[in-house]
């Protein structure tokens, strides 16, 4: 039984189609990368999985459970952890309190256990030295790491990563992929939207390309990047050139 299964998922905002018959499944422990041009509907797809957005049609199944009538917080407690492309920190809470909320609510831990889970999530993302800082005072890079830390503190079975590598230096990207690979070893299932293709190539075992809410390619990462469909979508843009040189 796959951990995550999407079946004919469709959604539109007025005239804008963000998902059109999206169907795919993901086995427990697998890692799937998602690419596609801006506005393709990648972030919306995460919203549909995490419960922020309700689809017009189709079903989302997680661990054998149809999520249609399951609200967002319950999905998180079932094991769906997510980060936001535009970071959403609790600005007037400290960095530690940000992950503590996730540890207590998402992972259902209490007392000392919740402190330890919150703190280890900060250590894993190198945010521990900033634990007492109000999250609102963090710069963009630290905010992105806090997104990851907070998602980790919910103890996810499925982790949805939305462009967490954007704007990082090469070194920072390698640090990030090291964290993701460690999560993979622990058995966490990964779904990762990313424009930084080298981060995906060193972590995921499968790639889908989304355009106008439709999956236009699905398969081995390198094959997908070199496929005719993806070339057409990107019109020979940066993503292909980067892939070709690696």
């Amino acid at each position: 039984m796959p951990l995550l299964q999407l079946e004919g998922v469709s959604k539109r905002f007025g005239q804008v189609v963000v998902a059109s018959g999206v169907t795919f499944q993901l086995d427990e422990g697998a890692s799937l990368g998602v690419v596609g041009p801006n506005g393709a509907g990648k972030t919306s797809l995460f919203g549909i999985i995490s419960g922020d957005i309700s689809p017009d049609a189709g079903t989302v199944t997680f661990a054998g459970k149809n999520l249609a009538s399951v609200p967002g917080p319950t999905r998180c407690r079932l094991g769906v952890g997510r980060t936001y492309q535009i970071p959403q920190p609790f600005e007037h809470m400290s960095v530690f309190e940000n992950t503590l909320l996730a540890a207590q609510q998402g992972a259902r831990t209490r007392g000392r256990k919740s402190f330890e889970l919150a703190y280890t999530s900060l250590e894993r993302t190198d945010l521990a030295p900033l634990a007492n800082r109000p999250a609102g005072t963090l710069g963009l890079l630290h905010r992105k790491r806090l997104e990851l830390a907070r998602a980790l503190a919910t103890k996810p079975r499925l982790l949805l990563l939305d462009e967490i590598a954007g704007g990082l230096t090469d070194l920072e990207v390698s640090e990030l992929t090291a964290i993701v690979r460690e999560l993979q070893r622990e058995g966490v299932t990964i779904l990762w939207i990313e424009h930084v293709v080298r981060a995906l190539l060193s972590t995921v075992d499968r790639l889908i390309c989304l355009a106008n809410g439709e999956i236009v390619a699905d398969g081995d990462p390198r094959d997908v990047l070199n496929s005719e469909a993806v070339r057409r979508v990107y019109l020979g843009g940066a993503i292909i050139n980067e892939a070709a040189t690696r």
Partner: protein, 343 residues
């Protein structure tokens, strides 16, 4: 892995930046002073303090509701009124009005729960208007009950055995103890797991949901608590008059005052509404010889604060001084010497 384990052993989490003994000592002094106030202060001051505490109860509840749980209600006067009328009802049925306070509180909480299923279908401005409609409907229903005095209202029975001085003292102590209980309860809520959920909700609802916080259930609970608190305010208000009349008990001014006071003092901190109430009463007392000017000045202050200092005067003070009289946060300390930097 061994590195992580060792650092966890040295992890300490504290709940305040200074000794809790300091807070406790301060709280004891304040409690002793206000409990002794009827014997220390002039009668006119005691009655002003009664009104101060009634407003403080309402503002503290409105802050939980709007400042934390994001429910901007303009209908809390509905529960003030229901609390007052529940007290009247129990008193008519022969109960001592002071003993009726907890029953009035429970009545308001019980009535609030089904109302949430109606109100929570609405958002933002629609929610606010609906709370007002609910309050007005409650008043209309009360108006139609002859037993409760209809449109003219009714004296609160059961207090005639007390001498006027005794009644004043008891009334004052009731408002003070209810206010104390409400502030302490609010503080304990904000320090608890629920409090962390409320803080996260105040800051970012979307992130709160996706981090596993049961936002709707939390809102429902807070709405019921705020109804109970405003009911308590209405109950002691009824005793302090001691005449219960729909136009006064359900007055929209209660909603306006709790909103203004909380906005001026600061939304989303426990100290904010307290500071707001202090400013409101200081202005009212110093400007009392100039008619309604205190209201005009206070209203302008509220608008100015809303424009330039959305977190209120306490928020501004806290940003500069990092002062927290009633700390609710968590601070990480590492006993192995590794510093965790603060702002």
């Amino acid at each position: 892995m061994s590195e992580v384990t060792s650092s966890l052993e040295s992890l300490h989490v504290r709940r305040s930046t200074f000794s809790p003994l300091f807070t406790l000592a301060g709280a004891l002094v304040i409690t002793a002073f206000f409990t002794a106030a009827p014997w220390i202060l002039a009668a006119s001051w005691v009655s002003i303090l009664s009104n101060f505490f009634i407003l403080l109860i309402m503002a503290t509840m409105w802050n939980l509701l709007a400042g934390y749980a994001g429910m901007v209600s303009i209908g809390q006067q509905g529960f003030v009124g229901l609390g007052a009328y529940a007290t009247l009802y129990f008193a008519i049925k022969g109960m001592n009005p002071f003993a009726a306070i907890p029953f009035a509180i429970v009545t308001c909480a019980v009535l609030a729960l089904p109302i949430t299923y109606l109100l929570f279908r609405l958002r933002g401005g629609y929610f606010a208007v609906a709370t007002w409609v609910v309050a007005d409907s409650a008043m209309l229903i009360i108006l139609s009950i002859a037993l409760l005095g209809g449109g003219t209202g009714s004296y609160l029975p059961g207090l005639s055995s007390l001498s006027p001085t005794q009644l004043d003292h008891d009334t004052y102590l009731a408002t003070w103890f209810v206010a104390l209980a409400v502030v302490v309860a609010t503080y304990l809520i904000l320090r608890s797991r629920l409090g962390l959920v409320l803080s996260s909700l105040r800051d970012n609802e979307t992130a709160s949901r996706s981090a596993g916080a049961k936002v709707t259930a939390t809102r429902r609970l807070i709405y019921v608590i705020a109804a109970a608190g405003c009911g308590a305010a209405g109950s002691v208000l009824a005793i302090s008059q001691p005449f219960v009349q729909p136009g006064n008990a359900f007055n929209l001014n209660w909603a306006a005052e709790m909103l203004f006071v909380t906005m001026v003092g600061g939304l989303g901190t426990i100290e904010g509404p307290i500071l707001g109430c202090v400013i409101f009463f200081v202005l009212q007392q110093t400007l009392q010889n100039y008619g309604a000017w205190y209201l005009i000045i206070f209203g302008s202050l509220a608008v100015a604060v809303a424009l330039w200092q959305p977190r209120g005067l306490w928020g501004a003070l806290r940003q500069k001084t990092h002062l927290e009289l009633l700390p609710v946060g968590y601070r990480v300390r590492r006993s192995d010497g590794v510093e965790t930097t603060s702002s």
